[in-house]
């Protein structure tokens, strides 16, 4: 392993190269571009033996990956925001056909108004697509999780999305421990598809199902996604044994004796941890809960992590306009049936690239305490709105 200063997008590309992918199909969209630029450079220089397909849209990017994956190739793509939405239709088919495409989403706000900066509204629109989904919080995690994604996808025969915050992660240089060829070992074995387009064994893929079959097909998909948690945990364990870096479906920080938890996803977690450190120094028992794994949802781990809390503040970087925001609503729902559960206070913030500082997180937690004491009021609050 070597420690290098590297743009996080390039580190992701390096993980893709290490995984020896066969095919990359991509369409440019900010802030995903640096990943695919670096990959096309690697292909052009012979650093990786892969087909790089410059498609005419994200819909085709995902379609090319789907076709290649169905032909037994290891495939990768990356996108953001509108690109992810244009792929939307194909995302369901990729998972429904159980094809292990790996994708990085450089998270970005959705239009309108046009905004190229980070929030999570793009990925939240794909919650129900049947993809395994996880969050990286910093450059090292982006590299590690990208590398692991190929094994997880191919073992579970499900597509996988790795979310990393646009600009905040994609465009910054961070110190990263890069693994090299010899160090990956058998973490990423050769992809041998159990059901591919093969002239020697002609299969029909993607037939249609009527009411008599559709439910059963979907039930088996639901089962596969739930069971994928085992594959995720097993892969992260194997990766930890090689690298010394261990990952969990729900990451906890200062949660052992915490009374108040803050739950969030993505790069804000690092900023929030500064606030937690400061509040701990002031004697306040606060901690961080980060659901790294988003699909399948880590029910048990989340319940375990929050069971002793008095209050749980949840920050979403996305609105579900007209209803509770996604993370807040899913956490509430996961805790609802628990005999003992914390009060959940739901916030939305950091939309369209708006920053939240450590002081901001501190204020958010303090405000939440008052709200929790006062009892049910607003359904959720939007943090940092200008007067």
């Amino acid at each position: 392993m070597k420690r290098v200063g590297m743009e996080v997008s390039h580190a992701v590309a390096e993980a893709v190269r290490l995984a020896n992918v066969d095919l990359i199909a991509a369409y440019p969209i900010t802030p995903q571009t640096h990943i695919v630029e670096r990959l096309s450079e690697a292909v052009a220089n012979g650093e990786i033996d892969a087909e790089f397909i410059c498609v005419e849209s994200e819909h085709s990017a995902m379609s090319v990956c789907l076709g290649a994956s169905a032909s037994g190739a290891r495939t990768y793509t990356a996108t953001s925001a509108q690109g992810l939405e244009l792929m939307h239709e194909v995302l369901y088919v990729t998972s429904g056909m159980r094809l292990p495409v790996s994708m990085t989403v450089a998270n970005r706000a959705l239009s309108a108004p046009l905004n190229i900066l980070c929030d999570h509204s793009d990925l939240m629109a794909t919650r129900d697509t049947g993809w395994i989904q996880m969050f990286a919080e910093n450059g090292q995690e982006a590299f590690d999780l990208t590398l692991c994604s190929f094994r997880i996808a191919e073992e579970a025969m499900l597509p996988i999305m790795m979310h990393m915050d646009g600009f905040t992660l994609t465009h910054v240089v961070e110190p990263i421990l890069l693994m090299e060829e010899g160090e990956v070992g058998d973490l990423i074995p050769e992809f041998k598809s159990p059901m591919s387009l093969d002239p020697d064994n002609p299969l029909t893929l993607g037939g249609y199902a009527l009411a008599s079959e559709y439910t059963e097909v979907k039930v088996s998909q639901e089962k596969a996604v739930r069971e994928a948690k085992r594959v995720v945990k097993d892969t992260w364990r194997r990766f930890g044994e090689i690298s010394g870096r261990f990952y969990n479906p729900v990451e906890c920080y200062e949660m052992e004796d915490a009374r108040i938890g803050l739950a969030l996803q993505g790069s804000f977690a690092e900023t929030a941890s500064i606030a937690v450190d400061k509040m701990r120094k002031d004697g306040k028992k606060v901690g961080l809960v980060r659901p790294r794994l988003w699909r399948p949802f880590p029910f048990e781990e989340l319940r375990q992590a929050t069971k002793d809390l008095d209050a749980l503040v949840v920050l979403d970087r996305s609105l579900s306009v007209g209803s509770h925001p996604p993370l807040g609503s899913e956490i509430r729902s996961a805790l609802y049936g628990q005999p003992k559960r914390p009060q959940v206070v739901s916030f939305v913030g950091g939309l369209g690239g708006r920053d939240i500082t450590p002081e901001g997180f501190e204020r958010m937690i303090e405000d939440s305490l008052k709200i929790a004491e006062a009892g049910p009021g607003e359904e959720f609050l939007i943090f940092g709105v200008k007067e």
Binding site: A25, E51, S63, V64, G67, E89, L205, G207, Y208
Partner: protein, 308 residues
């Protein structure tokens, strides 16, 4: 003429049927006939990528399949992109020694809606990237699978469920989009039109397309008794009338060079083609004359193109 063709087909084409009998196409389906013939061109290993539409629906109800070759259906508009992925995957996997080296033909199949309309962007992309694939458009001139709605391939004057003839409407108000010309504009090595009423011609063209050094596009007129409104035993005859009246000429464009065959110095009157079909029966003699003029003019232009 018809009897002659039947005998000839039996002798000239392989008996192998990649589209198994027992599928659920309508009686007299010109598209099923065309697909069956196209499969006769599969001399090497072939993989089919199929768009959503009649073919997909009549051949793949889970847990059954009519396909004896590897076959994949994904969506309506992305067939050319999926086929690009399949083609590229085999290329790279062979290069990396991950599968045996062999010729694998990738054949994309879609209807006129899936090609001219919703799939046009993906198709243009695949042509531009020069993927080695043979794209077959089975043109039955409307969205037949969803119930005969008009597409940009629907001919002028045809009554469909979304371009109905009425007091204020003659039916479809636009002329058929010239999809082969759009394919030619991409400078691909092989473009052709075909019709299952001319089976040897169709099979030969599909074989040529597969042998081309790059993308090939074959636009196949597939008469549809259900959507066009003619008796199901007239499918082959209606296809012949389309060619003989010049409304659907059979031609090829090999590396930019046009060749028309049959080259008809005198066309049958368009009325012969229109009046056997329910979708055109409402047309006034003036409208028929208007169509005649347009067809003659277009045919003339095509013949001129062939003489260049």
């Amino acid at each position: 003429m018809m009897a002659f063709s039947t005998v000839y087909v039996q002798r000239a084409l392989p008996k192998k049927e990649d589209l198994a009998p027992g599928h659920r196409a309508c009686l007299g389906c010109g598209e099923a006939l065309a697909v069956r013939q196209a499969c006769k061109a599969f001399l090497e290993d072939t993989i089919i990528v199929n768009a959503t539409g009649c073919i997909e629906i009549f051949s793949s109800p889970i847990p059954f399949t009519s396909w004896r070759v590897p076959w994949i259906h994904v969506l309506f508009e992305n067939t050319a992109a999926v086929a690009s992925g399949v083609e590229s995957a085999f290329k790279v996997r062979m290069r990396k020694g991950k599968c045996a080296k062999r010729k694998v033909n990738v054949v994309a199949m879609a209807g006129d809606g899936g090609t001219n309309d919703i799939g046009l962007q993906a198709l243009s992309g695949a042509f531009e990237r020069r993927h080695k694939l043979t794209y077959l458009c089975f043109d039955n001139e409307a969205y037949m699978n969803t119930g005969i709605q008009r597409s940009s391939a629907t001919p002028y004057g045809a009554s469909t469920t979304t371009s109905p003839a009425g007091k204020l409407s003659i039916g479809q108000r636009t002329w058929k989009k010239d999809m082969p010309k759009i394919a030619v504009a991409h400078d691909i090595p092989y473009v052709a039109t075909a019709c299952p009423s001319y089976p040897i011609d169709l099979v030969t063209k599909v074989r040529k397309g597969m042998a081309a050094n790059g993308p090939a596009y074959i636009h196949i007129l597939s008469p549809c008794p259900t959507g066009w409104g003619f008796p199901s035993d007239l499918t082959v005859q209606v296809g012949r009338l389309a060619v003989e009246t010049g409304i659907f000429p059979l031609y090829e464009v090999e590396n930019g060079e046009y060749k028309i065959d049959p080259d008809l110095p005198k066309l049958r009157p368009i009325k012969d083609y229109l009046m056997v079909q329910r979708r055109f029966r409402h047309l006034s003699p003036e409208e028929v004359e208007r169509i005649q003029e347009e067809v003659s003019e277009r045919y003339l232009r095509l013949r001129q193109e062939c003489r260049k």
